[in-house]
């Protein structure tokens, strides 16, 4: 490992005495394009004289803040324990089933939290399978006869979101463990540390930056979530934002609250960046040997197997099983001819958005690598905040600039040719893809950045010394090296787009549904059964990328294929 050296100086196109770096300009343009909806939210927040804060502070704001912080703490601790624990077990230990678990642990990623919430309620509420069963066994008659935890509660939400989101931490923890130098671990063992000692003393501190990134992604999603907390009657900040918007008819107030939410998120991002700062280590060799492995037997093996299987069972097997049961039972209603149309829509939108997000992610990350100009790095960071703005509010932010562009185009063509231009953006598929891009750029940008960070700067130097342009170096040196990261980025965005609901609802064209919006129209009436097949498809579509992701990580270990 070597510490990072400074970037080679970049060539610039010269106009007279003005040096213009095309990458910096390009990146700035892209960042502004992606950040436009965020500015629109900002603009809305400032464009009002009405004051909702007095009322909120005096009544519900303390509840919102308290429940949000509790939820984040719970989910943070939960995902950290499950994600790191399982990642360590399957990466460093050998026990029966361990190989399958490496990818199976990602499966809950495929289940949207709101689906998990529904299934959990279906099973655990008073009328659910478990309690009905308990009553039958013990002869209890009414709720006052016994105590059972209330699933529609803060605790329930923490459980559900932990199960749905721990794969973020698992994913990053596992690749961190895989990347760690064998030498370091061997040294620690040679110096007399126990396997556990190596874990606590060496592997965990080294993996810390990755863990922080994983947790901050999970927490951003937690902050943004509406479906689960609404269903569980947990009153988080996001619930409050929607309440101000819909019940007090104040989109401006909702935008103001969203800004406060963004502060929460900025703190998370700063934490993430600080964590990444300590991560500037680059492998000097692509030669790897197999990781040391602790072979577990007997009771320990069983324990490890159980510990890893439990989150998969609760977060994937049970919900998928319940959905399959409904899909079979209600197949007459669920298998409508339009089902295939919706599946195609979901697939197409997600593919477009994934492609776009990776391209934008590469442009931003590479420009930041080339140029340390604060304007470039600052804009690149700002552009990835979209992940944390409540999605429906962000959707309104998307509507505004698009409507402006449409109007400007119409005006221009009318003035020039006397014919109004067709509406190209508002209420079209392009608006939805744009929305996804704005929302999920953080995922692709982060993954690409992490990938680029692994390429030692001496490579840049060598390529450029040999006469390659920045673009040429990107195409011929970086691209082959970070292919795995690019695929990871695309897949993360793809899966999240398949699940995406709130933005799609607001932005989609007339008579256009995706699997998620189709599920929603029934789910919003608590009639999940009719939509079980579509829900199952969302889950299934998430599985394939999940498996591919797992392979990518393992391949990356071998120094590129």
């Amino acid at each position: 490992m070597t510490a990072e050296t400074h970037m080679p100086t970049r060539p610039a196109i010269r106009f007279g005495r003005l040096a213009v770096d095309p990458w910096a300009i390009g990146a700035l343009a892209v960042a502004v394009f992606v950040a436009a909806p965020l500015f629109a939210v900002l603009w809305q927040a400032l464009s009002t004289s009405e004051d909702i804060w007095g009322h909120l502070v005096a009544t519900v704001l303390p509840t919102y803040v308290r429940e949000t912080l509790l939820l984040m703490t719970g989910v943070g601790i939960g995902t950290l324990i499950i994600g790191t624990g399982t990642a360590w077990l399957v990466t460093m230990c050998r026990f029966p089933g361990q190989r399958m678990l490496t990818w199976a642990l990602l499966l809950p990623f495929a289940v949207p939290a709101y689906l998990l919430a529904f299934v959990a309620t279906d099973q655990l509420e008073y009328a659910g399978t478990i309690q009905t069963w308990l009553r039958a066994i013990f002869g209890w008659q009414r709720p006052s006869d016994y105590w059972f935890p209330e699933i529609r509660s803060l605790g329930g939400a923490i459980w559900v979101m932990t199960l749905a989101l721990y794969p973020y931490v698992y994913l990053l923890a596992r690749s961190a463990f895989l990347e760690q130098s064998v030498c370091v671990l061997e040294v620690s063992r040679t110096l007399g540390k126990t396997p556990w000692g190596s874990f606590w003393g060496v592997a965990l501190p080294l993996a810390r930056p990755a863990l922080v990134i994983g947790i901050s992604l999970a927490l951003m999603e937690t902050l943004n979530d509406f479906g689960t907390v609404d269903f569980f009657a947990v009153r988080t900040f996001t619930v409050g934002i929607y309440d101000v918007w819909l019940n007090m008819s104040s989109i401006a107030g909702a935008a103001q609250l969203s800004l406060v939410l963004m502060v929460f998120v900025l703190l998370l991002i700063i934490a993430e960046r600080l964590a990444r700062r300590g991560r500037r280590y680059h492998h000097t060799t692509t030669r790897h040997q197999n990781l040391p492995s602790y072979r577990l037997r007997g009771g320990r093996a069983a324990l490890a197997l159980a510990a890893c299987a439990l989150p998969i069972f609760l977060g994937f097997v049970v919900p998928a099983g319940v959905l399959i049961g409904y899909a079979v039972e209600f197949h007459a209603e669920t298998l409508s001819p339009r089902y295939f149309e919706f599946a195609g829509n979901s697939l197409g939108l997600s593919a477009f958005a994934a492609l776009g997000a990776v391209i934008v992610g590469v442009v931003l990350a590479y420009a930041v690598r080339l140029s340390a100009h604060p304007a470039v790095t600052g804009m690149a960071r700002f552009a990835s905040i979209g992940y944390a703005v409540p999605a429906s509010v962000l959707a309104v932010g998307v509507i505004l600039p698009l409507a402006g562009v449409d109007e400007a185009m119409e005006g221009t063509t009318t003035a020039l040719f006397g014919i109004p231009a067709p509406i190209l953006f508002s209420g079209t598929v392009a608006a939805v893809v744009y929305g996804y891009l704005v929302r999920f750029l953080a995922l692709s940008h982060g993954a690409v950045e992490a990938g680029l960070a692994k390429v030692t700067p001496s490579m840049d130097g060598a390529a450029r010394t040999l006469g390659a342009s920045p673009g040429g170096a990107l195409g011929r040196v970086h691209f082959p090296l970070i292919r795995g990261s690019l695929l990871t980025a695309a897949l993360l965005v793809f899966v999240d787009c398949m699940k995406e609901l709130p933005m799609t609802l607001v932005l989609r064209p007339f008579d256009f549904d995706t699997l998620a919006t189709f599920v929603y129209q029934y789910a919003s009436d608590e009639l999940f059964e009719e939509a079980s097949l579509a829900a199952l498809t969302i889950v299934a579509a998430g599985i394939l990328p999940v498996i591919l992701l797992s392979m990518t990580i393992v391949n990356s270990r071998r120094g590129g294929t």
Binding site: H55, V60, T63, Y126, A127, R142, P143, E150, S153, A233, W245, L246, N247, M248, S249, I251, E333, G344, N345, L347, G348, L349, S350, A351, F352, L355, S392, A395, V396, I399, L402, A403, D406, E407, E410, P422, I423, S426, G427, T428, V429, A430, L505, V506, P509, F510, D511, F512, T517, Q521, Y522, S524, D525, E526, E529, L548, M551, V554, N555, T561
Partner: protein
């Protein structure tokens, strides 16, 4: 840890195929027919599967197709942002609150139509034709057959009485149906009395407000509480639910009680579902036709028979089940006046911490 080479291969092929098929599936949607065709674009706050039979009947009769976007948030913002380029022609809502919101935002078109004026009674439409009620629904009490006496509950005001402590279930106080009810209480009783009442109801709750209307009936069946507030058509939908027969049991365990029925009392609180035409509608004529159709005999009959709501058009029969609950007196308070109080009502829900449930 080895990955067989063919797997890497399959990965690329699979991904490429998925991408290509996805792109092909999307292509038709990049052509934007928004203003070109004569079809109507409809924003709906109602789930499409509930209104599809009505829209199909309309298309059959007129040949005009209806394209729908179903969403509960962001419609107003989309209409407003689009301005003159707005593609939406009409909007369907499930309560008066949203209609009032659209009206206050100034995005609705005044409609003058003899058909609509004949079909929709004056107190259920906007005086300038900005919106029209299409059905009415009563927010009633469902009470346990076993645990609530015949005359134990008579009015909304009763719900705050100490004898009901720990016996009431209701969905979130922030739901549009409850906000409208609280707004009506504000209208009739004033702010202080309504605040005290809401505190009383909160203290009587059996659990933190949660779930939808049907979930409250289920809670009575399960013995978690004795009284629930629901919209009356849910009772019929549970009674006739062949797909989920367990809902029939929920319905069988409760009685439906209309409230405030005394001789001098104001009657049961009512809400409306309604429709409006958007100000910059590209197909305003067709959109008005749709509204006229929805207020006409055949559509009103579908509303009554399929959704068990009250048709607004005089002479259209109520569904058999709805009739079986007997006739009742409806609150005839000015519906628009009540709707204007909904923000006040929403704030009141915050002030008393209604959604915190009974414990705090």
């Amino acid at each position: 840890m080895r990955t067989p080479k063919y797997l890497g291969y399959g990965r690329k092929v699979g991904l490429t195929l998925a991408l290509i098929s996805g792109f092909i599936a999307m292509l038709p949607h990049f052509a934007v027919p928004a203003k070109a065709a004569d079809d109507i674009n409809l924003y709906s706050y109602r789930q499409p599967f509930l209104i599809q039979p009505l829209l199909d009947a309309f298309t059959k009769e007129t040949g005009i197709k209806v394209r729908v976007v179903f969403a509960k948030k962001g419609m107003l913002e989309r209409i407003r942002a689009a301005g003159r380029n707005n593609a939406a022609d009409a909007v369907l809502t499930v309560d008066i609150g949203r209609l009032n919101e659209l009206q206050e935002a100034g995005v609705l078109m005044p409609v003058t139509s003899d058909v609509l004026n004949d079909n929709v009674p004056a107190h259920l439409r906007h005086p300038d034709g900005l919106w029209f009620g299409l059905t009415t629904r009563a927010r009633v009490a469902l009470v346990s057959r076993d645990r609530v006496g015949a005359d134990e509950l008579r009015s909304y005001e009763d719900l705050a009485a100490p004898r009901f402590k720990g016996r009431i279930c209701v969905r979130s106080g922030k739901h549009a149906y409850n906000v409208a009810l609280i707004a009506a209480m504000l209208h009739h009783n004033g702010e202080d009395a309504t605040r005290a009442w809401l505190k009383g109801v909160k203290a009587n709750l059996a659990r933190k407000p949660q779930g939808n209307d049907r979930a409250q009936a289920k809670a009575i069946y399960q013995g978690q509480c004795d009284i629930a507030l629901v919209n009356n058509y849910y009772m019929a939908k549970m009674q006739t639910n062949e797909k989920k027969p367990e809902q029939k049991k929920w319905a069988a365990s409760v009685r439906l009680v209309y409230l405030n029925q005394g001789t001098n009392d104001r009657g049961n609180h009512m809400n409306i579902s309604g429709a409006a035409v958007i100000k910059d509608a590209p197909h305003a004529v067709a959109a008005i036709k749709l509204l006229e159709f929805l207020s006409g005999d055949s559509a009103q009959k579908i509303y009554a028979e399929v959704n068990h709501e009250y048709p607004v058009k005089a002479g259209v029969a109520h569904s058999g089940l709805v009739k079986s609950w007997g006739s009742f007196k409806a609150d005839t308070a000015n519906i628009e006046g009540v709707a204007k109080l909904r923000q006040r009502a929403s704030r009141l829900v915050d002030e008393v911490g209604f959604d915190d449930g009974p414990t705090s």
